[in-house]
């Protein structure tokens, strides 16, 4: 453990929710009858009728109104088949405009479901008919491209491959949709953050922490430890904008006390399809005592890699497989990146079983590498260079935009780190194997072997104090679009100038992530860029029209961390 790790602190117990959270009795009486929540209903075929409507729910003991699809939160699992042309008639039963975006599915621009860019949204009472050919397989998801994503409008999509895979299908196959529920309306959360960005952060360093540090490391080192953060007005506990102070974390719509349960007998092969449907939450997922083989990310197969824990950002999906061990139930544990709470479920041979739930990890501070990038690893890292090993050459200097020198950008990283083998703050030095971006490799090499013809460098920028988020210091409504030429192969290079990780999602086209050496590595639709990190990916601009390109943390997107892309 790095000396930067701080001691466990007493923390407020977060709301574990109700054992039978979800739709309020009376509206869905069937819910009361069952002992444990089950996965949302599954719909399959080529024709779908989806109705977006309000649904009274009770996850925390307080009755609230959620946004449901066909009366379900999460929305039903859609099972599609590669090669089919599907028709999805979506009726908006809300009093406000709504939309559904098919996240990661390659569709024509007008079918992409982003209000203002793909179409004008679905007006109240109206039905929009989405129709597209499914040209891929794997695990994807769908969600509102409005603040209603926070209130429950999200669900998993499974696309069956056209050709039956030669490998044996798993015995058990479950979607695990991880999300964050708040009793506060999303607009209220956004306004709270705009008025006080630390509104939900109850883990800020205290005078007591300082005195403890003085006791353990002496006054000089205790001051030294704080100097970088305080001199630059940065908060070393900025993991999440929104915490368990308002969130109850859900697994397939069940709060922790509801204990979503999947069934698997010992020896059975199990596939879990994790969907990062958190609007403001990264989850760190593990099943204690079980090794997880990651076989796919963002719907795309990867060379299998076995880990004990992985981090999933909003927008991402990961398929993991394992053989159900002997010895009864196992806990699926998904703690929020800020360690303020967790989602939890169980995989067990029979319903009604449960295993021990691990304690939340102690909260740690971000490390210098999360602010300084490569600069932190160039200096004396001692033997503790797990976050930046392999850094022997002088890193390339970032090229800042002139718009990064104004009020919207509180910090710039001149020398970002380029290594992808860092599991991220809070997961370093774990003592067990944690997935990193460097572990993810698409078999078969670059799907488009053309070398990129040009580079677009974009910096992820923010002003944490004022909760302003932007790209190159420019908010969406002050920006101009990125122009991609039809069918060109280009490289997008992100430099994260902030201290938070951002899951960046390009609609309509794949993001083919490059390794630090510039070679193709893995195909993604949502690329997590860690603090002070540089990540490049290749794009084949084969999708004509206008597309959204944004941070998938909902409140960052709302605050302006969003660009339009025009392929024309």
């Amino acid at each position: 453990m790095s000396p930067l790790h701080i001691r466990p602190i007493a923390r407020r117990r977060f709301v574990q929710g109700l054992a039978i959270g979800g739709a309020v009795a009376g509206f869905a009486p069937a819910l009361l009858a069952r002992s444990a929540p089950v996965s949302p209903a599954e719909l399959s075929g080529t024709e779908f009728d989806l109705e977006i409507a309000e649904l009274p729910v009770n996850f925390t003991g307080k009755r609230r109104i959620a946004t449901a699809v066909n009366g379900s939160v999460p929305a039903p699992v859609l099972r599609l088949r590669e090669g089919d042309t599907v028709t999805l008639r979506v009726r908006n039963g809300l009093k406000e405009m709504s939309s559904i975006h098919w996240h990661g599915i390659i569709v024509p621009a007008e079918m992409d479901g982003v209000p203002g860019i793909s179409f004008a949204g679905i007006a109240p009472g109206e039905t929009f008919t989405y129709r597209f050919e499914v040209r891929q397989s794997g695990t994807y998801w769908y969600h509102a491209h409005t603040l209603a994503e926070q209130t429950g409008l999200y669900g998993a999509i499974i696309v069956e491959p056209k050709q039956v895979p030669t490998a044996r299908a798993p015995d058990r196959d479950y979607c695990i949709v991880l999300s964050d529920w708040s009793d506060e309306p999303p607009l209220q959360i956004f306004l709270n953050l705009k008025k006080q960005s630390s509104y939900y952060n109850f883990a800020q360093p205290t005078a007591g922490d300082f005195l403890k540090d003085v006791g353990t490391m002496g006054l000089g080192k205790a001051l030294e430890r704080r100097r970088m953060w305080n001199s630059s007005r940065m908060n070393p506990t900025d993991y999440s904008d929104v915490s368990a102070a308002t969130y109850t974390y859900l697994m397939n719509g069940a709060p922790p006390a509801g204990n979503w349960t999947g069934i698997a007998a010992p020896g059975e092969r199990v596939r879990l399809r994790f969907v990062g449907a958190g609007t403001a939450t990264f989850f760190d997922v593990r099943i204690p005592g079980v090794e997880l083989t990651v076989v796919s990310t963002d719907g795309q197969p990867v060379e299998p890699v076995t880990v004990e824990e992985f981090r999933i950002g909003p927008g991402e999906t990961y398929d993991v497989e394992f053989t159900m061990p002997e010895g009864g139930a196992r806990t699926i544990f998904a703690q929020a990146i800020d360690r303020s709470g967790y989602a939890r479920g169980t995989i067990a041979p029979a319903p009604g079983m449960a295993a021990a739930v691990p304690p939340l990890d102690a909260r740690t501070w971000l490390e210098p590498v999360d602010m300084m990038g490569a600069m932190a690893t160039m200096g004396a890292m001692g033997g503790d260079a797990h976050a930046g090993h392999g850094m022997t050459e002088m890193p390339a200097r970032a090229r800042h935009a002139r718009t990064e020198y104004g009020a919207n950008t509180d910090m710039r990283v001149d020398y970002p780190r380029t290594n992808l083998d860092d599991p991220g703050a809070g997961l370093r030095g774990r003592g067990w194997r944690v997935l990193t971006l460097a572990d993810l490799r698409t078999p078969g090499g670059d799907p488009d072997p053309r070398e990129p013809e040009r580079d677009i460098e974009l910096h992820l920028t923010g002003n944490m104090e004022r909760f302003i988020w932007s790209l190159d210091g420019i908010k969406l409504n002050d920006s101009r679009p990125l122009h991609f030429k039809p069918n060109e192969r280009l490289r997008v290079t992100f430099v994260n100038d902030t201290m938070m990780a951002h899951p960046m999602h390009l609609h309509g086209m794949w993001s083919d992530v490059e390794g630090p050496d510039g070679a193709f590595q893995v195909r993604k639709h949502t690329v997590v860029v860690q603090p002070a990190q540089r990540v490049s990916f290749r794009v084949t601009a084969d999708a004509m029209g206008r597309w959204a390109f944004h941070c998938h943390l909902l409140y960052h997107m709302a605050a302006g961390m969003f660009r339009e892309v025009v392929v024309a």
């Binding site: 790095s2 005078a207 890292m381 009020a407 409504n477 101009r480």
Partner: protein, 328 residues
């Protein structure tokens, strides 16, 4: 004052008194990257190198005068790195122009476009609303800030005051201001507007100032005034937040007022008129609702003190306060 600052464990007493002194260098530093500003914590902490994981913090290259750079150069493979500031500064001539990627295209004009980054957000902060009891009697005090606008341009309505219940007299610093707040810097904004005094002998002033967050989390407001009666004035405020817990928060604050000429109507002398030191300890029942108790010590100088003596009051005043901080 406006937000919650994490306590950074600075030697508080010294830092509080030095807070106004660091303001000017702090501003300069925001404007020009390598400016070596002296700050309290730096004087308190001799620059030292710790060859540990934290040691890398030494190479932050920002706001760290006196740091030993030689080791960085050595471990940086002999390469010379520009350790320029990560904050503030001016764009170099060859900086990218992000609009170049657009090739002349404009954003979509379809209805339903995401507009949340342009919200004009109203906020009412009742920073202090308190009952005061001290050596000059009892009274009611307030500090209120109402803001409305987009991210970098807002209307500010700012008011502070103290009314003594004994003679219904308002403290001479009681005023209300209407200001345009504009920001070109991530931590600082400029203020331009008018101030209207409240109570006997009230003057109207043109107001110009800066406010913001100085390094080490000091909240600072500096305003200069030109009165319609020809007087000049200045008011400086600085505060800090000490988090005993994430809900139990102590806010030490210092305020001083300066006037160019005396005003017998207002009973203010020229020069340094007064200094007020206070500490308010609040408990945030929620972020938006926090009762507090506090102590205020204030001293008048020179002419202002003379006016007080004429009223058979002492030049210094202290009071216990109990009040409420709330915002919405």
């Amino acid at each position: 004052m406006i937000r919650i600052f994490p306590s950074r464990g600075i030697a508080l007493g010294a830092a509080l008194f030095l807070a106004p002194a660091i303001t000017a260098p702090a501003l300069a530093q925001d404007a020009s990257p390598p400016s070596p500003a002296a700050t309290p914590a730096q004087t308190a902490t001799p620059a030292q190198h710790t060859p540990s994981a934290q040691g890398s913090q030494d190479h932050a290259g920002m706001d760290m005068p006196g740091m030993d750079m030689t080791d960085t150069k050595a471990s940086g493979n002999g390469a010379t790195m520009d350790m320029g500031s990560m904050q503030g500064g001016k764009a170099p001539p060859d900086a990218r122009n992000s609009d170049d990627y657009a090739d002349g295209y404009r954003n979509s004009t379809l209805p339903g476009y995401e507009m949340a980054d342009k919200l004009s957000i109203p906020k009412i902060l009742v920073d202090e609303l308190e009952f005061a009891s001290g050596n000059e009697g009892q009274g009611v005090g307030w500090t209120v800030l109402v803001t409305k606008g987009q991210d970098n341009d807002k209307l500010w309505l700012r008011s502070q005051g103290l009314k003594n219940s004994r003679d219904q007299r308002l403290d001479p610093e009681s005023s209300v201001e209407a200001l345009w707040w504009h920001s070109k810097n991530p931590f600082w904004g400029t203020l331009l507007g008018v101030r209207q005094d409240l109570g006997k002998g009230a003057t109207t002033w043109l107001a110009a100032g800066v406010e913001g967050l100085a390094p080490y989390w000091f909240d600072v407001q500096l305003t200069g005034y030109v009165g319609t009666d020809g007087r000049l004035a200045a008011r400086a405020k600085a505060s800090y937040e000490v988090l005993f817990t994430n809900r139990l928060i102590l806010t030490p604050q210092v305020e001083t007022n300066i006037y160019s000429k005396r005003s017998s109507d207002r009973q203010l002398g020229s020069g340094f008129s007064n200094v007020e030191l206070s500490g308010r300890l609040r408990y945030e029942v929620s972020r938006k609702f926090a009762p507090y108790i506090g102590f205020v010590w204030e001293r008048a100088f020179d002419g202002t003190a003379d006016f007080r003596r004429l009223r058979r009051e002492g030049p210094s005043e202290h009071r216990l306060v109990i009040g409420l901080r709330a915002w919405w």
